[in-house]
Each structure stands twice: as structure tokens, then as C-alpha cells.
């Protein structure tokens, strides 16, 4: 039985968090579909709240403390990412953006990413298309066509579950057969000095 690693990045702040709940439901839907294909799913859920101080420290010092480094490596090494944020001031939250600001800008290149957001009202639903999708397009991720937005009133509605299943199915379809590839290492293709000298 093959196995797939899915990283769920959630920027919910309260505990319990509806943003975390949406991430869990998306991960469960992905797991169910993959189980039907006799593929094991290893889900790692990253609560950015736990790394808020480390994210600030990384921004200020230029290096990640050990716990954050491990999380960045988990996301970089995942086969797919589910990214979930609450909607703050018509966009993703600052904490959510901080994580993707310090993640290597090639870490998501070619990687399937399912985008999802929560909000107090349905009126913010286009935050997925106007804020999240451009961010992940910039990071060269393969963004799942269906994003999932859940207002408070959506939880418990069957339409949300249909949308979750559709998005999960699209993510699984994008997984393809190839495992996640490692980032380019600048030490691997060192230019010999004679070549540097000749410009």
C-alpha cells in the first residue's frame, strides 16, 4: 500500500477553531478518497498559533527556531497542502501570510494546494479568489480549482460537505503518481572558479 503525506496549515486563532475544523474535514475527505484507492494518508496538521512567536523571530533574525524549522520541512516535503485561514479585513490573516512569507519560495512549486477559508459572513467568500489563489499562484503551487469557503452559517449545511468532497476529489486527482521532490540545493551545482573568473 502506497502512502501520501498531506500537510494541513491552519491559521485559526481560537480553541476550538472553526478554521481548524474545516481543515480537519478537508483532510478527512482526502483520506477517505485515497483509502478507496488503497493509498494510506499521513496527515500532519500545523496550527500556526503554536508557532506565532517563532514566526516573528524568524522574520527578525532570518533563521527559524528548531520547532518552526521542522514544520517548514514538513510542508516542503508533503505531497499536498491544505491551507486554511480565517478571513481578516477582507484577506487572509497576518499569521497565515507570515508562514508563507518565511517558507522557501520554491517549497510549493508544482505541489497541489487546496485553499480554504472561514469567515463570519458569506459576503467574504471571494477572499479565496482575490487573496489566497494569487498568493499560491505566485508560489507556483498547483491550486485546486475548487476552493472551500465556510461562513459560520455554512457549518452543518450539506452544501458545504458536497463542496468539501469535490475539492478533496480534485486534490487527489492532482496528486498524480510522482512523490514530492526535494528543493534544489545551491551546493549541488557549484560553478568552478575558472568559470566564475571568465564571467
Amino acid at each position: 500500500m502506497t502512502s501520501r503525506a498531506i500537510a494541513v496549515v491552519t491559521a485559526g486563532l481560537t480553541q476550538p477553531s472553526s478554521t481548524r475544523l474545516l481543515g480537519d474535514q478537508l483532510a478527512a475527505a482526502v483520506r477517505d478518497i485515497l483509502a478507496g484507492q488503497t493509498v494510506d494518508t499521513e496527515v500532519v496538521t500545523i496550527e500556526l498559533r503554536e508557532h506565532a512567536h517563532d514566526l516573528t523571530n524568524h522574520l527578525l533574525t532570518g533563521f527559524p527556531p528548531a520547532a518552526l524549522r521542522a514544520v517548514l520541512e514538513t510542508v516542503t516535503g508533503a505531497d499536498a497542502v491544505i491551507a486554511v485561514t480565517p478571513t481578516f479585513s477582507a484577506s487572509y490573516s497576518g499569521l497565515f501570510k507570515m508562514f508563507f512569507d518565511v517558507l522557501d519560495d520554491k517549497a510549493l512549486a508544482g505541489k497541489p494546494v487546496l485553499i480554504a477559508a472561514t469567515g463570519g459572513t458569506e459576503r467574504h467568500s471571494l477572499v479565496l479568489e482575490y487573496a489566497l489563489r494569487p498568493l499560491f499562484s505566485y508560489l507556483q503551487a498547483i491550486v485546486v480549482p475548487t476552493g472551500v469557503y465556510a461562513a459560520t452559517s455554512d457549518f452543518g449545511a450539506s452544501e458545504l460537505h458536497e463542496r468539501i468532497d469535490r475539492a478533496a476529489g480534485e486534490l487527489v486527482a492532482l496528486l498524480g503518481s510522482q512523490p514530492a521532490t526535494a528543493l534544489d540545493d545551491p551546493y549541488d551545482d557549484l560553478t568552478p572558479f575558472e568559470q566564475l573568473l571568465s564571467g
Binding site: L60, P65, T191, L196, L197
Partner: protein, 366 residues
């Protein structure tokens, strides 16, 4: 093994008093610190080169020349000399002049600097940072090693029959280190020439710098200058000492919390765990510094940063007194561990002896 201090030359308010020293006070303080370094038995004083506030040392050879006149043994160096934006012709002249005035007590550390806007101030383009570092340094070497130079490159006007004066003291150019915190190309450059490589690893975890130093050592051997463990490595360090560890932590914490570079971020305890910073008793500094050898192998030069973040001159001079106590211990411990085939850092005397000896093995003709 050489021990010394390096200074950024920042003018930073003392966070405990709110007072900012004047430029004159800071410049004179840097000189006082250098003189004290010699007095307590350190080997090296290195000054940064910056061309923007809040830094004062824009003219390193002016300062080092003045210090040379007031010291006898201290090696005068830089941390770093901007090989990208300084004209290599002027560097060749300035540092040869300093060599004569200081009786050879001069070496340099080349760097690309960390301030993007400095490039256009000196007519250069930051996008050409690495090519500038490569071409300018190649020309600098030529100007020091050939009496009459014909040269043409990409970044400055050609030279025809040019002689840089004065010629290097005794015909021996200053030893050169290359400082880098992230560029494999610079480690490669240092290795190619058999120059020294300085890893200022004080702000980041050691794993990052292990790869850079490892690459330099491996390529040093590749280019035939000796075995990897004979490569010439320098390391940074950052310390604050009091007799009792708790006194050191209490006194340094406000400076740490407000420091440029890492202030307002991680706690003193977190940063101490992740980087070479040591705040504590002299014994703790000895123990932490000895771990650098375990991480990077036997090395030749250890420079400490002691005068930044607004620390008052009095505290800095007290740090130098502590360094005067611990350096003999570090010297003894590290010398005892170093195998006989691992050389000391080159000095003017050793380079002169090598150049007049029969084998002429130090200066590979390049």
C-alpha cells in the same frame, strides 16, 4: 591561533540611558578599544566598512593607520572591505601604504557588504555583486603581484602600463580572508586562491555555516593548497562576561533586547541556544568557544564582537579585560588539540619567509 575583536562601528543609543554617542565619541572609542586589545594581549583588531548611518567607519585605512602608529604588535584588519564597490586600484594603494606604515601588521577580509543601496553610491550595480567581487579581487591581486599591469575587465576602465604605488612591503602582499555568510561562490573563491575563509556565524545556527566551511575546506584541497584540514578558517563570536553568570545576563539583557539585527525577537536564552552568543561567566565563554573547534575543525582566527548594541565604552573595556584572561586559556587548549600539520594563519613574517625560501610554496602563481 590568533584571537581578536571585530567591530561594526555602529552608533547605537544605550538602551539603559537613552543616550546616543556622537560620531566623534564612537570613532575615538573604537580606537581606545583597539589599543586596549593590544594591551590585554589580543592579536587582531578588525574594523567594518560602512557608508551609511548609523555606522561611522567609512575610511578603514585612516583609522587603522592611526592605530598602527600607537601599537606595536596588533594585526590590523577589516571586517569587511567592500570588494564590490571600492575601486581595486585604490584598495591596492591604500592597503600597501598601510602595510608600510604598520611594518606589515596588516591583512584584509573581503566582503560584499549587506547594504544594497551602497552599490549606486559608488557607481556599481548590486545585481552584479558576485561578478564584481570576482573581477575586482582578481585585479587587486594582480596589482599587488605585478609591477606593471595591463588589464581590461567589465567593471572599470582598462589599465595600460599601470604601477600601483607603493609596492607591497617587501614585495609581499597582505594576506586576504574572504568573509561570507551565505555564498558558496565566495567559499569557492577563497579556496581557489588559497586565501583564508571567515565565517561570521554569530547570527545564525551553526549547521548553515558548517556547509560553507566544509565546502571551502574541500575546494582548498581540490585546488592543491594542502589538505582540507590545513585550510585557513576564521570564525566570529559574540560574548558578554561578568564574574557571575547571572550578573552578565542581567546587565546584557536590555542591550540584547534592543540590539540591531536580533532585538525585539527571540529571548536572550533562545538566541544563546541557537547561535554562538555567550552571555555569562568567563568559564562559560571558554566552554562555548571550545565547541567551535568541534563544529568546524581546527581553525586559525577567532574574532569576538564586544562593542555593539549601544554598550558603553567602560563595559566594552571590561570585556576586553575578561578576554585578556580567557584567551591564554583558549590558546593553550586549542593549540594542544591542533595537529602539527595544521598551520597558523599567515602573517607578513611567515609570508616573507615563505617567499624568500627555496620552495616558494605559499604563493601559487595565479
Amino acid at each position: 591561533m590568533q584571537f581578536g575583536i571585530f567591530t561594526v562601528g555602529d552608533v547605537t543609543p544605550d538602551p539603559t540611558t537613552g543616550r546616543t554617542p556622537t560620531e566623534a565619541e564612537r570613532i575615538k572609542a573604537m580606537v581606545t578599544i583597539a589599543l586596549k586589545a593590544e594591551e590585554v594581549g589580543l592579536d587582531v583588531f578588525a574594523t567594518g566598512e560602512h557608508h551609511n548611518p548609523p555606522f561611522v567607519p567609512s575610511s578603514p585605512t585612516t583609522m587603522l593607520g592611526y592605530i598602527a602608529a600607537r601599537t606595536q604588535k596588533l594585526i590590523l584588519s577589516t571586517a569587511t572591505t567592500l570588494i564590490t564597490t571600492n575601486d581595486p586600484v585604490k584598495l591596492a594603494e591604500d592597503y600597501a601604504m598601510l602595510q608600510h606604515l604598520a611594518d606589515g601588521r596588516v591583512d584584509l577580509m573581503m566582503g560584499r557588504g549587506n547594504t544594497g543601496p551602497v552599490y549606486p553610491w559608488f557607481g556599481q550595480d548590486i545585481r552584479q555583486g558576485i561578478p564584481l567581487a570576482i573581477e575586482n579581487y582578481a585585479l587587486l591581486r594582480k596589482l599587488w603581484r605585478e609591477d606593471v599591469v595591463d588589464w581590461e575587465g567589465k567593471f572599470r576602465t582598462p589599465l595600460q602600463g599601470f604601477t600601483s604605488t607603493p609596492r607591497p612591503l617587501d614585495g609581499v602582499p597582505p594576506f586576504v580572508w574572504h568573509g561570507s555568510i551565505r555564498s558558496p561562490e565566495i567559499a569557492e573563491q577563497a579556496a581557489y586562491y588559497g586565501d583564508g575563509f571567515f565565517a561570521n556565524h554569530i547570527f545564525w545556527p551553526k549547521e548553515h555555516f558548517q556547509r560553507l566551511v566544509g565546502l571551502y575546506r574541500q575546494r582548498f584541497e581540490h585546488y592543491g593548497h594542502g589538505s582540507a584540514d590545513q585550510a585557513i578558517v576564521g570564525l566570529g563570536g559574540q560574548v558578554f562576561m561578568r564574574k557571575s553568570s547571572q550578573d552578565a545576563v542581567d546587565e546584557f539583557r536590555p542591550y540584547f533586547d534592543n540590539a540591531p539585527v536580533y532585538g525585539h525577537g527571540p529571548s536572550l536564552e533562545e538566541f544563546t541556544a541557537d547561535t554562538p552568543l555567550t552571555v555569562g561567566s568567563p568559564q562559560e565563554v571558554i566552554e562555548k568557544t571550545l565547541t567551535f573547534r568541534d563544529t568546524f575543525g581546527d581553525y586559525q582566527r577567532q574574532l569576538f564582537l564586544v562593542d555593539h548594541a549601544g554598550l558603553p565604552l567602560k563595559s566594552v573595556l571590561e570585556q576586553l579585560d575578561f578576554l585578556g584572561e580567557i584567551v591564554p586559556v583558549l590558546r593553550r587548549e586549542l593549540d594542544a588539540k591542533r595537529p602539527a600539520h595544521v598551520p597558523d594563519a599567515p602573517t607578513h613574517a611567515s609570508l616573507l619567509a615563505a617567499s624568500s625560501g627555496p620552495s616558494n610554496s605559499v604563493e601559487v602563481a595565479r
